[in-house]
């Protein structure tokens, strides 16, 4: 490409933008309707109808500092986030869009790494990026790059998952350790003066989820834990199903570095972000079998049954390691580190 960094020309609709699309996006995203240069991707209904009777449609925007962190980057995050939002509804993700807000001065090499990471992740997830958009804002008006992705998936006709289906007696499972993404990003920011071997769990979960749904009855609901962590998902389940969730602290899979950061900063691990962990509500009789299947998948090796749905008033209680109980309150906003 002619330039080594993004300029306002790359968002102006002229030759610079065309070059960016041809040399970068088309190359990274592979066989895609973007190549047709129409204002919209055209997708035949036959691509959807054999897999189910309903479409799932979702959108998500991604901002993260730093853009690259152990275990992922903003591009991988942008694909996984939307793929996972589709997959937890039982949908088979099919196509994505990708829209970029780029800051003037962003090195092309940085954008390249991000876009190729998106292409690779889409390939792993079995989805294609069919349409997109690029805007450039002046230096200082954005933090490098922001990405929005939207996605369409197909829901098989026999599936009807929903948080409202949780009933007393059901079990709560997690597919992996909690707070890994939040801990990895905090360490990557290098503000804590700490080093640790911590990788984000950022991953497309549709393969794992489809294999579970194909092999097990009794999965009632799923939600991927993202910025609010496990804690916010548990509250979502309790509210939607008018049930109470009793969680066993001892059973929560938490990696040592995550624990360490939380202890030091006065944060709660269950409100730390994940980007590749699904919370499942499973009928009691199926819970053990689902757990074993999860553990056999590369993205589910740390899976655990962490609690039970009860008929107490809606809310979430943590059964502590010492036999006490405490409310796992739903935070109003950001967790702030506690130092003094």
């Amino acid at each position: 490409m002619a330039e080594d960094c993004i300029t306002l020309a790359h968002g102006a609709g002229g030759r610079a933008m065309a070059e960016l699309i041809d040399c970068l996006f088309l190359s990274a995203f592979g066989d895609t309707a973007i190549a047709d240069k129409e204002d919209q991707a055209r997708i035949t209904l036959e691509e959807f109808t054999p897999n189910g009777d309903r479409l799932a449609f979702t959108t998500d925007s991604f901002v993260v500092t730093p853009l690259f962190f152990p275990g992922g980057d903003i591009g991988k995050l942008a694909v996984c986030g939307t793929v996972n939002d589709l997959a937890v509804g039982g949908a088979i993700p099919k196509v994505l869009s990708a829209a970029f807000i780029l800051e003037e001065g962003l090195p092309i090499s940085v954008l390249q790494r991000i876009v190729y990471s998106m292409g690779d992740t889409a390939k792993e997830a079995g989805v294609t990026i069919q349409t997109g958009d690029t805007k450039v804002v002046g230096r200082g008006m954005a933090d490098g790059v922001y990405i929005n992705t939207s996605g369409i998936g197909v829901i098989p006709s026999h599936l009807n998952l929903g948080l409202c289906h949780a009933k007393p007696g059901d079990r709560i499972l997690v597919s992996g350790s909690i707070g890994d993404h939040g801990a990895a990003v905090m360490l990557a920011r290098e503000e804590l003066g700490m080093v640790g071997d911590m990788h984000s769990d950022c991953a497309p979960l549709n393969g794992l989820i489809q294999s579970l749904l194909g092999n097990h009855q009794g999965i009632k609901a799923m939600r991927d834990a993202t910025r609010g962590g496990l804690g916010c998902v548990l509250h979502d389940i309790a509210k939607a199903s008018h049930t109470h969730l009793l969680v066993e602290e001892d059973r929560l899979p938490i990696r040592a570095p995550t624990h360490g950061i939380c202890e030091l900063m006065g944060l709660e691990p269950w409100f730390m972000a994940n980007e590749g962990m699904v919370v499942l509500v499973v009928a009691e009789h199926a819970a053990e079998a689902v757990l074993q299947s999860l553990k056999q998948h590369p993205y589910g090796t740390s899976a655990a049954v962490i609690g039970t749905v009860t008929n107490a008033s809606p809310g979430v209680t943590l059964h502590t390691s010492y036999g006490g109980k405490r409310l796992l309150d739903w935070p109003y906003g950001l967790q702030l580190p506690r130092i003094c």
């Binding site: 006065g266 502590t320 390691s321 010492y322 405490r326 003094c340």
Partner: protein
């Protein structure tokens, strides 16, 4: 660390504590009242579920040891006024960000455009200053004796390196004068104290002698792990049973009797003590304030910026002071969980996550009635 979290040891200690507490309460004709001075211990009581595991014969009175809770409105107003100045970066810990000032919190001022940054250490603030030589960087220093050494070290470093765009807005508070003022007030009924672990690491257990010798209350310094806390509680009950009144250390792996001499020397070289200060909920506390020495006045933001002397309006509900002094439980306040919540705090005890009200709100299953605490 695992041994201090061992569930079997926790259970064993509770088995020892429960009959002892019941016996003492029966002898006293009322529940034993113990003040945990530190907000970290208040948090631990709820976090580990001790509120339910310990018998009703022990009543915890949540002490004043949360430096964020006692931060006056005026301090927040001053910090916001400084952050509004051109080419100025205000830095502080995450703790005070949500504390409501007269019209805004630091978090709200940041959202309105002020350059306010959360740091994990004052040395990080100094780094921001060296990276932004054309801006003034101010660190809002808060906290009890625990965080004072790091502020002192930062000021010493700034002076040694000749950094001329860094200053500290000093609102540290000393624990012992605060504790003594509370005891001298005479309006609280207490049988003993669980002493703060982190402060004691700096000041040493000898510093608490007046509590035992002058005010005749036993005090046991505790760490923050479940076994640490229960061990201190057990030692305190033993003292009560034996009619002793001493300062004991149940956190000897971290705390000694003299304190951290290097840290104390660093503090003494930078800070002057002896100033009477007004704190939220506590009012004027003799001797509690901390000032930057004249030698370091170039780094004293209160001199550099001359923040408005106009005091902020103290909008605190009257119940806060009663809760802070242990005269009223958070859930006995008529505003608790109804008008005063973490997202709309009326008093600072609801703002800081280590404040007694926030702990009750966050952890108690039934916010209306609560469990004993």
């Amino acid at each position: 660390m695992r041994e201090f979290r061992d569930a079997a040891r926790v259970q064993a200690l509770i088995q020892k504590i429960a009959p002892l507490a019941d016996e003492l309460a029966a002898a006293f004709g009322r529940p034993i009242q113990i003040m945990e001075v530190c907000g970290g211990h208040t948090h631990a009581i709820f976090r580990y579920g001790f509120a339910q595991l310990l018998p009703h014969s022990i009543e915890f009175i949540h002490g004043p040891g949360c430096p964020v809770c006692v931060l006056p409105v005026k301090v927040i107003d001053e910090a916001i006024a400084i952050s509004a100045k051109a080419d100025t970066i205000l830095t502080t810990f995450g703790d005070p960000m949500r504390v409501p000032g007269t019209s805004q919190s630091l978090l709200q001022a940041k959202a309105h455009g002020a350059d306010i940054r959360v740091v994990y250490s004052p040395l990080d603030a100094l780094t921001i200053a060296t990276k932004n030589p054309h801006k003034q960087v101010v660190f809002l220093a808060i906290g009890f004796d625990t965080t004072m050494p790091s502020t002192a070290l930062t000021l010493t470093t700034a002076k040694a390196q000749g950094i001329n765009n860094f200053s500290v807005l000093c609102h540290h508070i000393r624990l012992m004068p605060t504790l003594e003022a509370l005891l001298a007030g005479g309006d609280i009924q207490l049988d003993g104290f669980i002493g703060p672990g982190h402060v004691s690491m700096v000041i040493g257990t000898d510093a608490y002698q007046p509590v035992a010798k002058v005010h005749h209350k036993p005090l046991v310094v505790a760490g923050f792990e479940p076994v640490d806390f229960l061990l201190a509680l057990y030692q305190l009950l033993i003292q009560l049973k034996e009619g002793r009144c001493e300062t004991e250390n149940a956190y000897a792996r971290v705390v000694n009797h003299r304190g951290n001499l290097t840290a104390l020397a660093a503090m003494d070289s930078v800070f002057d003590y002896g100033e009477d200060c007004q704190w939220r909920g506590l009012g004027w506390v003799e001797n509690s304030g901390v000032r930057i020495k004249p030698d370091f006045s170039a780094f004293d933001a209160s001199k550099h910026f001359s923040p408005s002397a106009e005091p902020g309006i103290q909008q605190e509900p009257c119940y806060c002071q009663q809760v802070l002094k242990g005269q009223r439980k958070p859930n006995q306040c008529p505003l608790f969980a109804k008008h005063c919540k973490p997202e709309h705090p009326l008093g600072a005890l609801m703002v800081s996550s280590e404040g007694a009200c926030a702990a009750y709100y966050q952890y108690l299953p039934d916010k209306e009635t609560g469990i004993h605490g």
